[in-house]
């Protein structure tokens, strides 16, 4: 039985990244993989448990949110620590999953490029990844809650099939899953979301026009 580890690169333990990580585990467990999820953030002061989990795995799946167009800073820290402990790498298959608020894959793709470049420096085989847009809107709910839920589910399952078989997964899969709408619809979405933001802040008694509190510093 092959061993897989999902590394949750999100500070949240119940958000969209973990939901996607659990989808991976469920899929892989049904296909003769023994899987576990390891959360990065509780181990930031001592990464030993995360590094050991990677060392003990045949397949590593890194799943996390997109912060300003790529994975959060602490993913860079984790990768740097892995390279410092290079002996834990023994030809594992590496896959990445990145999810972010914007619906476009190009907004988030840099995270996967980072994993690909990282893999060239260590004894690990980067085999592709998957980008999920509108991840913030999901907030941990299942993929079928997305406007493109049907497509997203179908192509994400194809990606997981590649993971289970240790195959390469190309960018075409997640690009096909992307929500594609005309600009006018996005304009309408922006207006609707802005009204929701303003309404939510007003309900909290927050004046959205107030200057940044950092002007006081």
């Amino acid at each position: 039985m092959k061993k897989a580890v999902v590394i949750n690169l999100s500070p949240k333990k119940n958000g969209t990244s973990v939901m996607l990580g659990n989808l991976c585990l469920g899929f892989l467990n049904e296909r003769e993989h023994q899987g576990a999820i390891v959360h990065l953030y509780p181990h930031l002061k001592d990464l030993q448990q995360v590094l050991s989990a990677i060392e003990g795995a045949d397949t590593v799946i890194m799943v996390g949110p997109c912060y300003i167009n790529t994975y959060p800073a602490d993913t860079v820290y984790l990768l740097e620590e892995i390279i410092k402990h290079k002996t834990i790498l023994h030809g594992q298959n590496l896959y990445g999953i990145i999810q972010g608020g914007m619906p476009y894959v190009h907004t988030h793709e840099s995270g996967l490029k980072m994993l690909k470049l990282f893999a060239k420096e260590g004894n690990v085989n980067y085999k592709g990844g998957f980008v999920i847009g509108l991840g913030a809107m999901l907030n941990g709910q299942p993929l079928d809650k997305l406007p493109n839920g049907k497509k997203a589910n179908r192509f994400f399952n194809e990606f997981l099939n590649h993971v289970a078989n240790g195959e390469n997964s190309t960018a075409a899969l997640y690009r096909n899953a992307q929500l594609k709408l005309p600009g006018i619809v996005y304009w309408g979405m922006a207006n609707r979301m802005n009204k929701m933001i303003d309404k939510g802040l007003k309900e909290k008694g927050i004046d959205v026009t107030q200057p940044s509190p950092y002007f006081k510093n």
């Binding site: 500070p11 930031l44 912060y67 300003i68 790529t70 490029k113 922006a190 933001i197």
Partner: protein, 177 residues
């Protein structure tokens, strides 16, 4: 006002760009990220619910974002790390939404965000000796995406540690323009 944020652990290009801008009498502030204490963004929503527009965690972000929010141009100087920013640089960048506009806008028929009104420029200078084309492109693409989502002007450069004075001055000229 130009603010340079530079991870100086393995490069001195940031200081050279700063000196070049000073020679041109630009108003410029230099922030070395070497000893900066910046915690991670926990995506806790505290900057919306508890302390609107401000991180609920007290660290060097208090004064760094105080500087950035007064800037017109941000210049990020970082070792290129697998086509991305260094860990120290990214810790600061991760929290930049604090000084951004919460609303959504449309640009080239896509949704984007905006920074505070006065922030109009974003420049990313990546430092890596003999950087391979694939990694260089990855860094340039990442900075281009940052520029796009923030709805600002800007550019990306990848330089060797011993970049010539001519190259530095060309970047200085573009930033100060």
């Amino acid at each position: 006002m130009i603010t340079i944020l530079s991870d100086d652990t393995s490069q001195n290009i940031g200081k050279r760009v700063y000196e070049g801008l000073c020679e041109r009498d630009a108003e410029v502030e230099y922030i070395s990220l070497d000893d900066v204490n910046m915690g991670p963004c926990f995506s806790c929503g505290g900057c919306t619910d508890k302390t609107y527009g401000k991180c609920i965690h007290r660290d060097d972000g208090d004064w760094i974002f105080g500087s950035l929010v007064r800037s017109n141009i941000m210049v990020w100087v970082t070792p290129v790390t697998w086509g991305s920013y260094s860990f120290k640089t990214k810790r600061v960048l991760d929290k930049c939404a604090l000084i951004g506009d919460r609303h959504y806008y449309l640009k080239n028929r896509e949704l984007v965000k905006k920074m505070a009104d006065n922030i109009q420029g974003f420049y990313g200078i990546g430092i890596k000796d003999h950087c391979r084309e694939e990694e260089k492109q990855a860094f340039e693409n990442l900075v281009a995406e940052n520029i796009n989502i923030m709805s600002v002007a800007g550019n990306a450069y990848v330089l060797d540690n011993d970049a010539s004075e001519k190259i530095i001055m060309k970047i200085v000229e573009e930033i100060s323009r």
